[in-house]
Symmetry: D2
Subunit: 158 residues, 4 copies
């Protein structure tokens, strides 16, 4: 069982979140690959049971770079069905489009037939940090990684 | 294991969709209760492993009646975490707000910490019928019910 | 020319935002009525050139009370076309569904054929405060009121 | 006064919609440029009072190509404030993500501080065609072009 944490990051903020999420996945005992979006091929998406994507908030949506990966993933449309998905973002300010960025990733994951989960306690749609993630934000990212990993184990069997 | 299909319906269209979804759930061997939203108490939400809600498309969102149930469900905030959710709608026209109605239900389910799934083949976010559901729409509703039931079995064990 | 600022508020936070927005509207020289949603009839919606609605963030969407007003407004469907709209929310936490709450109001306004505007500098979709609005949040609300009033004057002539 | 209709199109469907919208803009007496997204520079966005963008529905969102234009437009962040925006899409099926594609464009336009409008009669968020636009869809596109042009004239003066 393997989970991919794919991210875009210019400032390094989204990368830090990605690293914390990957730590959470591993803490749960699941193998995790951490990759910049530019280094992910659509073919390798098939190798993972869980796919978590992060992007800085650019005009309230994922970046064009991450969107490119989804556009190209049409090659395997239908084959990601049933996989577990997740999303996170680093935003410039509160109310700056971070929630809609996470939802934009969710929309792409749902159209792939994937499974996603919200959170009743932490940021509800997925980890959202304003600027550089502080300790609290990193802790939430780790918890999120653990949670997605636990769900993946439940669905794909240990 | 039990799944609730809760719905609002004025014209009867959403009700027909709800009935087809309930048939699909039962076909998958899972007990299913079918109820109008006005007859659902927030307490009984706790009794189900899966919660599927349907609403006609009213101004691009679920109806106030269904929203009331979610508003009141704050009493049990956190206790629905990990349950499986689903959503469907009957809309007046194509491009009439049906997709955003389903997403509005998804947003409430995610904030409850619930798990949702998209579909790579049928209407991607959830069953969406324009006007009275035809045969094709009813078949899609049944498939959707089966799918959510199968996911519920996977996550909650058979 | 008249603008209505309609709001729901349990804790008083959304009310404070509404008051600041109303001050901004008046600063721009436009008459403004400030009303709790329970005291707004759908008939009087016709009397305003601008309609700004605020709601606390309840499960990532406007409250059922505000949604009820929109559901009932179907009585005048088509007659609000061309009016100017706005939306704001008070949320429990950052990433708590505040953006999607504003968008839920926008969706209803758009389906009424109304005109809305974003903001390149402040919270992009509309005023969003976490908890009690601080000075900064109140200032943003005032600016928002001024902006919507200025747009209403532009479109409806002074 | 000038309006740009920018589009991506692989199959030609979105292009046909763009052409009909451009006809509507011109019918309203406003100059209109029709361009493929790849031929639009971010600098020229400043030259238009109205910006209408169309994209096929790719995973429930605008294409990466159109998103790239928005990402690059950050160079002029703040300078598009007050311009009039519009959005349209060609989708593979009803419930296929067309509404969310239009909303994804709206989110980017709102974050630029732009002004958008919905429609109480036609597809509410913006023109949405499934597959090749038929006569009805082309007529709706023309009406939409006229509407956005009329709003632009109102706001920018004739």
């Amino acid at each position: 069982m393997k989970i991919l944490v794919g991210f875009c990051s210019l400032s390094g903020n989204t990368k830090k979140m990605a690293e914390a999420i990957a730590r959470g996945v591993k803490d749960e005992g699941v193998t995790c690959d951490l990759k910049e979006v530019s280094q992910i091929t659509v073919d390798e998406l098939l190798n993972y049971e869980g796919l978590i994507f992060g992007s800085p908030t650019y005009y309230g949506l994922m970046t064009a770079d991450l969107k490119r990966l989804f556009d190209d993933s049409v090659k395997h449309h239908g084959k990601l069905t049933g996989k577990i998905g997740g999303a996170f973002t680093s935003s410039g300010m509160m109310g700056g489009g971070g929630e809609t960025t996470i939802l934009s990733i969710f929309e792409a994951l749902l159209i792939h037939g994937m499974i996603i989960a919200g959170d009743a306690k932490m940021q509800h749609y997925g980890p959202l940090a304003v600027g550089a993630p502080d300790n609290e934000a990193e802790k939430n990212c780790m918890k999120y990684g653990k949670k997605i990993a636990a769900l993946t184990k439940k669905i794909y069997g240990t």
